[in-house]
Symmetry: C2
Subunit: 225 residues, 2 copies
């Protein structure tokens, strides 16, 4: 059995969930807010973060912490379907796009929008700061421009095939979309790519998420939005 310790609106947890479902790997989800379960999570991951995968399908249970290690681990141990296809150069390009979202987008968008609208509220740290939110929204537009450029210059985010790069990008965007912050109508190319991703069966679980006290935007779960 596999248990994934996750938080529903954590873009890094969502990456792990999407890959588990793409590969049809049975698992149970254990929801933990990092700020409420610090000691429990720290025993599994020194950083005290979600996601953590506990894989009990092998002899000794394996504890795999953090999204990127989980994604690479699942790719190594359950290679079908392959989500890092092609040769070394194609895999490097997929990993570059993953890095872009996990470091650059995370610091420029999540650190503003998710922090202000989700983390601060959930932790009782006050209401969102409009200046910080505005900055996050400006950065988000810049990133949507960049995603559109990628999609226009190649057939897919990191190449013609569906890869971990699409999953990582969609996991991040799906969280700001839950909050209704993505101006889809200004970004047709990105919208069409996200519509295709959203239709994948592996996406159903994240579209069913409902955070108590914070309902999703009206179109969040619509496949045709």
């Amino acid at each position: 059995m596999r248990v994934l310790h996750h938080w529903p609106l954590d873009p890094f947890s969502r990456q792990a969930r999407l890959v588990l479902d793409e590969k049809s790997l049975k698992h149970t989800l254990q929801s933990e807010a990092p700020w409420e379960q610090a000691a429990k999570l720290q025993a599994l991951n020194p950083a005290g973060n979600t996601p953590v995968l506990v894989d009990k399908t092998t002899g000794t249970p394996r504890v795999i912490a953090e999204a990127r290690p989980i994604l690479e681990y699942l790719e190594e141990t359950s290679p079908t379907p392959c989500l890092l296809p092609g040769g070394p150069a194609e895999r490097a390009e997929a990993r570059r796009v993953m890095d872009w979202f996990d470091r650059k987008y995370d610091g420029e968008v999540n650190a503003y929008i998710l922090h202000e609208k989700l983390e601060k509220v959930a932790q009782g740290l006050g209401s969102p700061d409009p200046a910080m939110l505005r900055m996050g929204k400006d950065h988000l537009r810049w990133h949507l421009d960049h995603i559109a450029w990628l999609l226009e210059t190649r057939d897919g985010l990191a190449g013609p095939r569906y890869t971990l790069a699409d999953i990582v990008a969609a996991a991040h965007l799906s969280c700001v979309d839950y909050l209704g912050e993505v101006p889809w109508d200004d970004y047709d190319v990105v919208k069409h790519w996200y519509q295709r991703v959203k239709c994948r069966p592996a996406f159903r679980s994240v579209l069913a998420d409902r955070l108590p006290g914070t309902p999703p935007s009206g179109h969040y779960a619509d496949l045709d939005f």
Copy 2:
């Protein structure tokens, strides 16, 4: 031939240099400050960052951008010596430690100390802010405690063998050490680990770095400090 576009005091560039040298892969170094060579770097890497590896040893030159993709690429294409040894669980643990340094340590230490003492000065953005520097130094002490704990509970950063986790950690620490900011004498276990890493032939190149206008700390290149 391989060309690595790097900036000498960039901890991510240093990761790529150390791995190229560990694997004895011939390359030339092309130094570029990201704030001076924005257009040139952006043509190679949309994020405009170092490092970028241009690998011309294959038919068509391959452009591999960002440290993590470069490290995984070199591990795939030049697997000897192996720097991600063991089974999937050991590799996942090495990647978890790499993530720790590239995201957590980077945001809590580099974003304060390297930003204040190197990037701001090099870009003419003013002198270091003492409050920011103090915060970076406090975070650094917390990280050194954590590294000591890792080294005391296992024989090596991510296990008994020398892995990419040691290289990534040493690349990050070597930059603050250049600036004389590491209180080594308070962290014996970490100091002994870093001494062993520093003695590796692959480390010679980074110990020879000299940034115009910013000389290294007195002990920076000493193997016995």
